[in-house]
């Protein structure tokens, strides 16, 4: 029992990382109808920025976090200008391929600059965690969970209650119409990329103490997060959360009871299952093209 509860806690912790990255997917998808395959690399950049700032430059932890987030906001703008903006009027295929190119560029750029050796980052907290009964609650996982919940709440308020949020929704549904209504479409998309890069960076900061910091860490998280968004319902915020948590739990139990080497395969098997039975995901709606 204690073992299973422990697995459940770990699974939810891992799952909330997926959920956080999936949120970034959902945001960009809602604004541009494009899937950003470099979303995970935002997290990787965030983690590496933390290693540079907090370890190499020995800046205070909180200051490093702040600088990292600011850097990623700027990077999101650059990413938009270099990778999305020139292709904005083309179909989704060139954009997808362009973001894949960006992902290769980022990972290998960091690899060339920092080498292949995995880095590690300490947790913000001195206390590693606490136990209730047999179950150990890792403090970093608790932080991840709390931050995810806060970000989700913020994002909900943002989309449903603020004007800029509504503008972003309008932009995603019909760019032409939105621009006719006076919504600055390109600026809205720019803000989306900046925010979602920051969100990715935040995920990187949070997972860095749990995982090793490597150039590949982002893309493996992002693939799971992507699977999570499909399972939850693409572009749906609630779906991203539920899908992410579900995947984390399934994966953790799968690794414990079925097979450790195939841990990474469970997410994809679940995904195949969903695509067969309920392709629109848990919360998604079927969307068909307008004639």
């Amino acid at each position: 029992m204690g073992f299973n509860l422990q697995l459940l806690f770990t699974g939810i912790g891992v799952g909330s990382i997926y959920a956080l990255v999936a949120l970034g997917f959902a945001l960009i998808y809602r604004a541009t109808n494009v899937v950003n395959f470099a979303q995970g690399d935002f997290a990787m950049l965030g983690a590496f920025a933390m290693v540079v700032l907090a370890i190499d430059l020995e800046l205070p932890y909180w200051l490093s976090i702040l600088i990292t987030l600011v850097l990623l906001v700027g990077f999101g703008a650059l990413f938009n200008l270099g990778v999305y903006y020139p292709l904005r009027n083309r179909s989704f295929l060139p954009v997808i391929i362009s973001t894949i190119g960006a992902s290769i560029l980022l990972e290998n750029g960091v690899l060339a600059a920092y080498g292949p050796r995995p880095q590690s980052l300490d947790s913000l907290f001195a206390v590693p965690g606490f136990s209730i009964g047999d179950v150990f609650f890792d403090s970093q996982y608790i932080v991840i969970l709390v931050v995810t919940i806060v970000m989700v709440a913020l994002q909900y308020v943002f989309f449903e209650r603020t004007l800029i949020g509504k503008k972003m929704q309008a932009t995603s549904q019909d760019k032409e119409m939105a621009s006719l209504l006076g919504i600055p479409v390109m600026l809205t998309i720019m803000i989306t990329f900046m925010y979602s890069a920051m969100l990715g960076g935040l995920a990187g900061i949070l997972v860095a103490p749990v995982l090793f910091v490597t150039v590949g860490m982002g893309s493996s998280i992002a693939l799971k997060a992507f699977a999570a968004s499909i399972i939850g319902g693409f572009g749906d915020v609630t779906g991203a959360i539920v899908g992410g948590l579900a995947l984390g739990v399934i994966e953790t139990f799968g690794a414990a009871y079925v097979s450790v080497p195939y841990k990474d395969a469970f997410a994809f098997l679940v995904l195949f299952g969903f695509l067969l039975v309920r392709p629109q995901g848990i919360f998604g709606e079927r969307i068909s093209e307008k004639a």
């Binding site: 391929i97 190119g101 290998n108 080497p261 994809f268």
Partner: protein, 621 residues
């Protein structure tokens, strides 16, 4: 090889030129094989050429799926790996002859491709990207971790080659022969029924469905073929290098395959071969970049997408077409077209009957309990204010949207649950309010896609769910002699609407009015019994509208039944025998033009209420 000789479109002399092109092509292939047999090559050069030839075969698979069909495949390295491991394990652990192992590898890859395609191609887009990445990841995990079977990360050494081709030179000759054969196949595929269906799906999937292409089956076929070629290339690769390991078939390699086809140009086989050759040689030239090589590579992908979206070959072709302006198309003698499967008869019999048809979007009743009867050989108009549900009704009639309730019968046969392409096969044609043509194809090819559809199949509603063999796109079908007939048929349809002279033009270069006519010709080429026209007059000037009215009358004279939506009352009055009026999803009037246009409720719907006392606040829109 000369592009113009191979794609020669004029019926006369095309066969002769095609024969000459094939002769030259075979000669080039033989010369290439002879060259690698005669010229003494270093082991290093042999390896490089072997890699280029086998990779190019896999990349040609991507030409089919990405270039022709517009679907992404991020798992080509996985299919390549399936082929490679089949030969590797087949010739070592199972001691099978090379050819048997190769055949097994090709079948396994194609099977995996078919299963993957069947599960994800209904969704397409980023779902497909994700599914292929997932498959790629799972396969890499299996190759690495199932040590007992695949020997894990150490890989499989001592892979055998076929008995007579054990030396590297002759084996390379085999790879080159295979490459030439595959490239020819992929080139020819473009002008077959399946190839045209693929391009139609790429350019406009919805329109493809409506003119009778089973888009889903076409995509599955494309994906399966692509996987098959991936497996074939991989099988030859394993024989060539005598050693395989899991890291050779990782996701990164899939991205390399994708970059190859994009760099060279996905639209035609020469692009695939060009891109593969360049990217295999590039690492040799870019050695000085060392650690940042892959970063430069990723940057190059972005730059290609931004500055050279059609790849090197596509860029060259664009230049070529600029230098050689479009020549007027000389179709020669055009036999008149049998426009419909019907003969002219005004017996008032019913061709389409609709009972209680509804389509609800959430709480919105876009179409609400509509009854409708369309009689043979009439022009039946559907009018109503904006948002009254006209297009939704049309979409339900030809199967684009699934009705919430009600029954649609075509000639007494229930078609309510049939997909659009099956309805096209039964004789429903259609045009769209916002023109939907296959933008990258020629005018003639657009209409040929419409002409290609099989003759009325016996309706078998019981067969729903099963795959009907007759509607599956076939590779054979009407190629060769049959394609000539098809071409003449398409030309006749173009001639009927008066634009046969533009048959050779790219459809995107036509004026708006001409594009509307191409769309009508495309529908006519399918020899419909009943033609749906969704606002054919929209955006036309009055001269073009007069021509349209004449065209509609000529169509009716040939026995066609026409169901038309339009806002232009003057035009509707001129052509319509019968008018149905919709408002707020409901039928508010039905009858002859003179009856309907005087109907009080119709006047209210269009002009608004005169007396406020009676106001039901429908409002004019």
């Amino acid at each position: 090889m000369s592009a113009s000789a191979l794609s020669g479109k004029t019926p006369r002399g095309a066969a002769g030129r095609r024969g000459l092109a094939l002769g030259l092509y075979v000669a080039a292939a033989l010369a290439a094989i002879a060259a690698v047999l005669v010229i003494p090559l270093s082991a290093y050069s042999l390896n490089l050429l072997m890699q280029a030839a086998t990779y190019a075969i896999a990349v040609l698979g991507l030409t089919i799926v990405l270039g022709y069909t517009g679907q992404i495949n991020l798992a080509q390295a996985a299919f390549f790996g399936l082929g490679a491991y089949s030969v590797a394990l087949g010739t070592t652990a199972f001691a099978l002859p090379f050819w048997i192992a190769l055949a097994i590898g090709v079948l396994i890859a194609a099977g995996a491709g078919a299963v993957l395609g069947l599960t994800s191609l209904r969704l397409g887009g980023h779902y497909l990207a994700m599914v292929t990445i997932s498959f790629q990841t799972i396969l890499t995990l299996v190759l690495t971790n199932w040590v007992a079977f695949t020997r894990g990360p150490d890989g499989v050494p001592n892979i055998r080659r076929p008995v007579l081709l054990a030396e590297s030179g002759p084996y390379l000759g085999l790879c080159i022969a295979a490459l030439f054969a595959v490239a020819w196949f992929v080139w020819r595929l473009k002008t077959t029924k399946l190839g045209r269906a693929m391009q139609a799906v790429r350019d406009n999937e919805l329109a493809a469905n409506v003119v009778g292409v089973d888009a889903y089956a076409t995509k599955v076929a494309a994906f399966t073929l692509s996987a098959l070629l991936g497996g074939f290339g991989g099988a030859l690769f394993a024989g060539g290098f005598a050693y395989v390991s899991p890291d050779q078939f990782s996701f990164a390699e899939s991205v390399v395959f994708l970059t190859m086809v994009l760099l060279g140009g996905a639209a035609a086989p020469p692009g695939a071969v060009l891109g593969t050759g360049l990217l295999i040689l590039l690492p040799e030239w870019l050695r000085f970049l060392k650690v940042i090589y892959l970063a430069v590579y990723g940057g190059a992908v972005i730059l290609i997408m931004v500055f050279m979206p059609d790849g090197i070959w596509g860029y060259a072709m664009t230049l070529w077409h600029k230098l050689r302006p479009e020549r007027p198309f000389d179709p020669g003698f055009i036999a008149p077209l049998a426009l419909t499967r019907e003969t002219a008869r005004e017996d008032g019999s019913v061709i389409l009957s609709v009972h209680g048809l509804s389509k609800h979007f959430g709480g919105l009743k876009a179409v609400d309990e509509i009854d409708l009867t369309i009689c043979r050989n009439t022009v039946h108009a559907l009018i109503g204010p904006n948002g009254s549900g006209k297009t939704t009704l049309l979409n339900a009639l030809n199967g684009i949207v699934r009705p919430t309730g009600g029954i649609i019968k075509l000639e007494g046969v229930d078609v309510t649950r049939l997909p659009p392409h099956r309805r096209a096969g039964l004789g429903l044609g259609r045009t769209f309010q916002n023109i939907r043509l296959f933008g990258a194809m020629s005018v003639l090819d657009n209409v040929m896609v419409g002409a290609e559809q099989p003759h009325p199949l016996p309706t078998l509603p019981r067969e729903r769910g099963r795959v009907n063999r007759n509607t599956l796109p076939r590779l054979r079908g009407r190629v060769g002699k049959g394609a000539g007939g098809l071409e003449r048929h398409a030309l006749a349809a173009l001639d009927f609407v008066g634009i046969a002279a533009r048959a050779g033009a790219r459809v995107g270069s036509l004026s708006y009015g001409h594009q509307r006519l191409v769309e009508i010709a495309r529908a006519l080429a399918g020899r419909p019994k009943l033609l749906f026209l969704d606002e054919p007059g929209a955006g036309l000037n009055h001269v073009e509208k007069d021509e349209l009215v004449r065209l509609l009358k000529r169509l009716k004279g040939h026995g066609l039944t026409i169901f038309i939506i339009d806002h232009d009352m003057a035009m509707v009055e001129q052509v319509a025998d019968h008018i149905t009026v919709l408002n707020f999803g409901k039928r508010i009037a039905d009858g002859t033009p003179s009856e309907v246009l005087r109907h009080p409720e119709v006047i209210v719907a269009y002009l608004g209420e005169e007396r406020p006392a009676l106001s039901r606040s429908h409002g004019a829109s």
